[in-house]
């Protein structure tokens, strides 16, 4: 089948998931108004907004990583990925929705509905105030609200603009091949990648690292990027396998699946390598201003923190090392789901210890909101998938891609 049809059963599942998310949202809001004292009120506020940020960033990251990966295929003029190009385009369609939730969190912070971003409080940079914080004041040349908003709008806007441009040109290509359009895509992708290289790092500092305002790590941008890249590859693989299993996308053969398995395997190593590189240098140097990031994570969240590292590192390594396992649907789906949960926990660990200190929990609000976002993400992506044929037939590497064969 060349065209994806969004079955009503699947649609109903995504709506049920969104419903669970709504219940969790209502419960989170009820927690805020039902809290007995100021301490619990603050925690309830931080809990709800942190979870919107975690899920907004996690799912936005998948969409961004898919667009990044598509741009890499254009620039490398890689042939094999043509049959999964429409999957990558559809994943990118979540970017505007994800950006909405990110903007919502930033706007709520700007207007002091929550204090996830401690530095947004004007008192901390005011030398007259008792709350004055000289370290944050020293960073205010970069971390100030106007510049923060300029960056956020610029990054989100440019990323979404590039995705729309790739998508439009890809749909135009279905009507007829044009060499000029193809090379324009290659050029656009190269420009996008240069911009993405800088902006993805800066975005991770702004949106995630600035929660722990006093702390900084030069590796943080790469660490965040490798995490979203891995989740992007995992979701691409899962979606490709789902389509193949249901009889769509007959052009997808065992070699494409093998290659996707290699990407999941390889990028999970990149992520584990960067996790360790960031951890080991800080552990070794043992400088107080640097270890403040790891101490609460290791002491208050010992099992989640080390657990998510070991799961995200060992499971893909052991289970996907064998060649045949990279072609096995059962292995890929199981490992994919484990890694997806593992990386949701990684995002949780990047945000919660900074916003809720030792009070973070994983209860119905966390799981419910994550499922709600999963439902919304699936709905948007699968809906985008129905809008175009599943394979870009006029792509110049189409023939190369359908004859892709590796061992």
């Amino acid at each position: 089948m060349e065209q994806f049809t969004f079955s009503s059963k699947l649609k109903r599942t995504t709506f049920i998931l969104m419903g669970v998310g709504l219940i969790a949202l209502v419960l989170g809001i009820a927690n805020i108004f039902g809290s007995s004292d100021e301490h619990h009120h603050h925690l309830a506020v931080a809990r709800l907004w942190s979870n919107v940020l975690i899920n907004g960033f996690f799912f936005f990251g998948i969409a961004l990583a898919a667009t990044f990966f598509m741009a890499v295929q254009y620039v490398a003029e890689a042939g094999w990925a043509v049959v999964i190009k429409r999957i990558l385009e559809a994943l990118g369609a979540f970017m505007p929705v994800g950006a909405f939730f990110l903007i919502l969190v930033f706007a709520a912070g700007t207007f002091h509905f929550h204090h996830l971003y401690h530095w947004m409080d004007p008192a901390v940079t005011d030398p007259e105030s008792p709350l004055f914080d000289s370290i944050i004041a020293g960073k205010s040349g970069y971390l100030n609200l106007p510049f923060f908003w300029v960056r956020a709008i610029l990054f989100l806007g440019v990323w979404i603009w590039f995705w729309k441009r790739f998508r439009t040109k890809s749909l135009e290509e279905d009507l007829g091949f044009d060499r000029k359009r193809h090379f324009a895509n290659v050029r656009d992708a190269a420009i996008f990648l240069v911009f993405f290289g800088y902006s993805s790092s800066a975005a991770s500092w702004d949106w995630i690292m600035s929660i722990d305002t006093h702390w900084y790590s030069t590796l943080f941008g790469w660490y965040t990027f490798s995490g979203i890249w891995l989740t992007g590859m995992v979701v691409t693989t899962l979606l490709a396998l789902y389509l193949k299993k249901n009889g769509f996308l007959p052009q997808l053969n065992a070699s494409h699946i093998h290659d996707l398995g290699k990407w999941v395997f390889g990028v999970s190593f990149l992520w584990a390598y960067l996790f360790f590189s960031q951890f080991m240098l800080i552990w070794y140097a043992n400088i107080p201003e640097e270890v403040t990031y790891f101490i609460p994570r290791i002491e208050d969240y010992t099992y989640i923190y080390w657990g998510m590292f070991l799961v995200n590192f060992l499971f893909p390594m052991i289970a996907l090392m064998d060649r045949d396992h990279k072609r096995n649907y059962g292995f890929l789906i199981t490992i994919g789901i484990i890694v997806l949960i593992g990386h949701w926990l990684d995002t949780y660990m990047m945000i919660i210890p900074g916003t809720m200190q030792e009070h973070g929990t994983i209860g119905f609000i966390e799981i419910g909101l994550a499922l709600g976002f999963l439902g919304l993400f699936s709905y948007v992506v699968l809906n985008a998938l129905t809008k175009a044929p599943l394979v870009a037939k006029n792509h110049p590497f189409y023939q190369e891609s359908i004859h892709h064969e590796i061992h």
């Binding site: 360790f276 951890f279 080991m280 552990w283 070794y284 140097a285 043992n286 064969e405």
Partner: protein, 176 residues
């Protein structure tokens, strides 16, 4: 005397060779070896080459490297001359594990990679000073050869084998 000679079919195209090998195998002839200037896609499945065991060898070399480096690090850094680097206590191996990971990793990779390369060279006997074994000099340039050992295919006479080879589109059939 002539029974110890091997029979070669020389081709000028890898596609014709693949098709020819398929015909030979289909008739029940055992193809001993194929010579080519570059890897021919899928030929190992046609002529039935056994799956390589170099991955198992690589794992064993890597394991050797990992064990050697654990023993070495433990002896150098813990037992023989305990050192205090950057305020890290190192009376125990586990407490310093994070600092040792890069060395463990590098030495494991070093042993696995060198072990694999040496195994490959020794197994194929392509060592310095060893003379080339290709049946025809042009199999390193633009020609491809199929090697058949007549004594492995006693069902066929040598003339039959030559005839079948010629039918598959060889440019030359010769004994060596």
């Amino acid at each position: 005397m002539s029974s110890s000679l091997k029979l070669y079919g020389l081709y000028d195209d890898d596609g014709i060779l693949s098709d020819g090998a398929r015909v030979l195998v289909g008739k029940g002839i055992k193809v001993n070896e194929v010579y080519s200037p570059f890897p021919i896609h899928g030929i190992e499945r046609i002529v039935g080459v056994k799956w390589t065991r170099i991955a198992i060898a690589a794992f064993l070399y890597g394991l050797t490297g990992a064990v050697l480096s654990v023993v070495g690090l433990w002896y150098f850094m813990i037992l023989d001359w305990p050192m205090d680097i950057g305020g890290k206590p190192n009376n125990y191996f586990v407490q310093n594990m994070a600092a040792f990971v890069p060395i463990l990793f590098e030495f494991t990779v070093l042993c696995a990679a060198h072990g694999m390369a040496l195994t490959y060279f020794i197994r194929n006997w392509t060592l310095p000073g060893v003379s080339a074994k290709n049946p025809h000099p042009r199999t390193t340039d633009d020609h491809f050869a199929i090697e058949i050992i007549p004594s492995d295919n006693s069902k066929f006479s040598k003339e039959d084998l030559e005839g079948i080879l010629k039918e598959t589109g060889t440019v030359e059939v010769f004994e060596k």
